[in-house]
């Protein structure tokens, strides 16, 4: 999987479609525009397992605006709004 990562372009998880799979490259809270401070958002994401190298898969989307999304992070499932997911850069 890591081989293909080099050729795939990086994107925020907040833009990913249902069925997307990838690996977290880094966190960039500043770009998310969340109501939380950058540090707070980043801390919370880490506490829910969103760390560099974790495998993610978008499992489900909500009805309105395809939001929020349910993301498989390694072996747990986390629901998160797309706005906050913009801070998670995947490839």
């Amino acid at each position: 999987m890591t081989d293909t990562n080099d050729t795939r372009s990086q994107m925020p998880l907040g833009l990913a479609q249902r069925g997307y799979t990838g690996v977290i490259q880094h966190l960039s809270a500043r770009e998310a525009g969340s109501a939380l401070s950058d540090i707070e958002l980043e801390s919370r994401l880490i506490e829910l397992g969103f760390v560099e190298g974790a495998r993610v898969e978008v499992l489900h989307e909500g009805l309105v605006g395809r939001d929020p999304i349910a993301v498989r992070v390694d072996n747990i499932t986390i629901a998160v709004r797309r706005r906050e997911a913009m801070a998670i850069i995947v490839a």
Binding site: S34, A35, L36, I39, E40, L41, E42, S43, R44, L45, I46, E47, L48, G49, V51, E52, L59, H60, E61, G62, L63, V64, G65, R66, D67, P68, A70, D74, N75, I76, T77, I78, A79, V80, R81, R83, E84
Partner: protein, 623 residues
């Protein structure tokens, strides 16, 4: 020699099975209260170890870290650090992990270790992990973490035997286990480093099966489908509503007739007089009118606890988040608001699932606007007396339509109020982002649910019961004093403070079309909405004789104008006429001010709605 009481604290992430372990250890020997000054639930239980040591164990609020980002999490942090006011520092911390999902707990444990408290890592739900082919090298894990590790199956009899034994072993050498506290709030990079360290340890000690749990994935394919999921949710709600209204009915009637019989008994045994009146009208009928709601509360909590245990609640919040977000509500507010259709009291109690303070407060403030079952007797009485039972457009029953309209108005105004709160009152408060773990589905455990229902029911009876009792004493006093002078021919109530207040209020209520009899009925109706029906009956019985009281609907139809009736309906959509709801709001928000805010805004809305309704109706010729 008597050993001193050992203090344990349970710490773990949400969904770690902490509560089921707590229930397994303590059974029904639990005490539920609030931490002083905050509305965080404090659950303490007691048990005895195999060596006969008395143990007190506190189930701390679930948390992913010790940063303390919410009042709940602050409690957990302060408690472990021994800084929580009035609390004993725990002798031993049990860090509870879901054995099928160690990642987040191991990170939490690495942080907890810095506090220097003696600790045990409890790998709960070990049977599920084994069945799924997850292999944990317990010895190696204990060595890597430098913390004793024990497996447990909280839901099985004897599943905590190893834990109890280890507790005995460790508690005999606690002093040796104690380390210095080096904890301080972690920076983002330290947080990341501990997660990396956790992941490394897990990679060394845990082998995952080739194929992950597919049952959860298969259920979620339906339950979280954008459209299918909402249909499933609607079906669950439909069953829940049916249960609350239909299943509870026979029990409620039984309780009702039980209290009536008890009142009758008191009436016949005691000589007529103040004591008889106080016991029958004040204590028995007053407290009875609240206890009647116990079956509904039990059924609501049965559903809530079942769905929570199963793992569905987080899914419901996921489905509803954006839909409710438009009105400034959090996805998690959905279930509490839903419960409020039965009764606002369990609804407001259920807001504890919302961890953000602002979101929780908004939900508490609007929950009483949901049409609770206590409004139904009032609505039914007035609708059947004033609204003709004819069909409109050939197939819709007009009475049913009015009833639906009353429900719809309640919901619409709740959303509107939430919107207003969002924009004007709590604007500077950062809205909580929706970030929630969707746990794997689990079979609900009957014992856990039974204990949960038992503690809720007990809390309802104790707390709401005492408030209602004191309110009822007050109302009985108002309606009974001063006593009529000897030889008076008018009914006793005419001389009472209640009548004096009713008549004093009449000028205020005249613009909305209420007469003094309604004003009098509204006073006992403060205790519980449906009491107003009985009170109206009493007041009009005095004028029209006993016969009239039995057919209160027909009396109203002759005494009130249609405009007054409609105004009364509008009043009841909004009026804060329920002392126990206000008492619960005061308790759950921990503040008299928020109770006053709720009372005032609802009263103003009620008055405005009635004023508009009455005047429009009069202008249209219904006066």
């Amino acid at each position: 020699m008597e050993l001193p009481l050992l203090h344990l604290a349970l710490v773990g992430t949400p969904n770690s099975g902490k509560t089921s372990l707590f229930n397994a250890l303590t059974g029904s020997r639990q005490k539920v209260a609030n931490y002083p000054g905050v509305t965080v639930e404090r659950k303490e239980g007691f048990f005895v170890t195999p060596l006969g040591r008395q143990v007190s164990v506190v189930d701390l609020p679930g948390t992913y870290s010790l940063r303390g980002r919410s009042p709940d999490e602050e409690i957990t942090r302060d408690f472990v650090l021994g800084k929580a006011s009035g609390e004993t520092m725990p002798d031993l911390v049990l860090c509870v992990a879901d054995a099928t999902n160690l990642r987040l707990t191991i990170r939490l444990l690495l942080e907890l270790k810095r506090t220097g408290r003696p600790m045990i890592l409890v790998l709960n739900m070990f049977d599920i992990a084994t069945r799924r082919g997850i292999n944990v090298d317990v010895e190696r894990l204990a060595k890597e973490l430098d913390v004793p590790v024990v497996t447990s199956i909280a839901v099985r009899k004897g599943g905590t035997a190893d834990l109890l034994q280890l507790t005995d072993e460790i508690s005999s050498k606690l002093a040796a286990e104690l380390r210095e506290n080096s904890w301080r709030a972690l920076s983002v990079s330290e947080l990341r480093a501990t997660q990396r360290e956790a992941d490394r340890i897990i990679a060394d000690c845990v082998s995952l099966p080739a194929s992950p749990d597919t049952l959860t994935a298969r259920i979620d394919a339906i339950v979280l489908h954008p459209v299918g999921g909402l249909i499933v949710l609607a079906l669950i709600l439909f069953v829940m509503f049916q249960a609350v209204f239909a299943w509870a009915q026979p029990l409620m009637e039984l309780l009702n007739s039980g209290f009536d019989a008890l009142g009758e008994l008191v009436h016949n045994t005691l000589p007529a007089g103040l004591l008889q009146s106080f016991l029958q009208n004040g204590v028995i009928s007053g407290v009875g009118s609240v206890i009647v709601f116990l079956p509904q509360i039990i059924i609501i909590f049965l559903f809530i606890l079942l769905l929570e245990d199963f793992g569905y609640m987080a899914r419901a919040a996921f489905l509803m988040d954006r839909i409710m977000g438009g009105a400034g509500l959090h996805g998690r507010a959905f279930i509490p608001l839903l419960s409020s259709f039965a009764c606002a009291i369990p609804g407001i109690m259920a807001t504890r699932v919302i961890d953000n303070k602002r979101d929780r407060l908004t939900t508490i403030l609007i929950a009483p606007l949901m049409t609770c079952s206590a409004r139904i007797p009032v609505y039914t009485l007035i609708i059947s007396a004033f609204i003709p039972a004819r069909d409109v457009w050939g197939f819709i029953n007009l009475q049913g339509l009015v009833m639906f309209g009353l429900y719809a108005t309640g919901i619409a105004s709740a959303l509107l109020v939430s919107f207003v709160i969002k924009f004007f009152m709590l604007r500077d408060y950062a809205p909580a982002p929706f970030m929630l773990e969707l746990p794997d589905y689990k079979v609900p455990q009957l014992k856990s649910i039974a204990i949960g229902i038992y503690t809720r029911a007990k809390m309802f009876l104790q707390r709401a019961g005492t408030t209602i009792f004191s309110m009822m004493v007050l109302i009985w006093f108002l309606a009974s004093f001063p006593q009529p002078p000897a030889g008076a021919t008018e009914p006793a109530i005419d001389f009472s403070l209640a009548a004096i207040i009713g008549k004093a209020l009449e000028p205020l209520l005249a613009p909305v079309g209420f007469n003094w009899q309604i004003a009098v009925a509204l006073i006992p109706g403060m205790a519980a909405r449906e009491v107003a029906v009985a009170a109206l009956g009493t007041v009009y019985a005095i004028e029209g004789g006993k016969e009239a009281a039995e057919q209160i609907g027909q009396v109203l139809a002759t005494k009130w104008s249609l405009a007054t009736a409609l105004s009364m309906l509008a009043w009841y959509i909004f009026a804060p006429q329920c002392a126990s709801t206000l008492a619960v709001i005061r308790r759950e928000t921990g503040s008299w001010a928020w109770m006053a805010v709720t009372f005032t805004y609802m009263l103003l809305l009620a008055y405005a709605a009635s004023l508009v309704t009455y005047n429009v109706a009069v202008a249209l010729g219904a006066g």
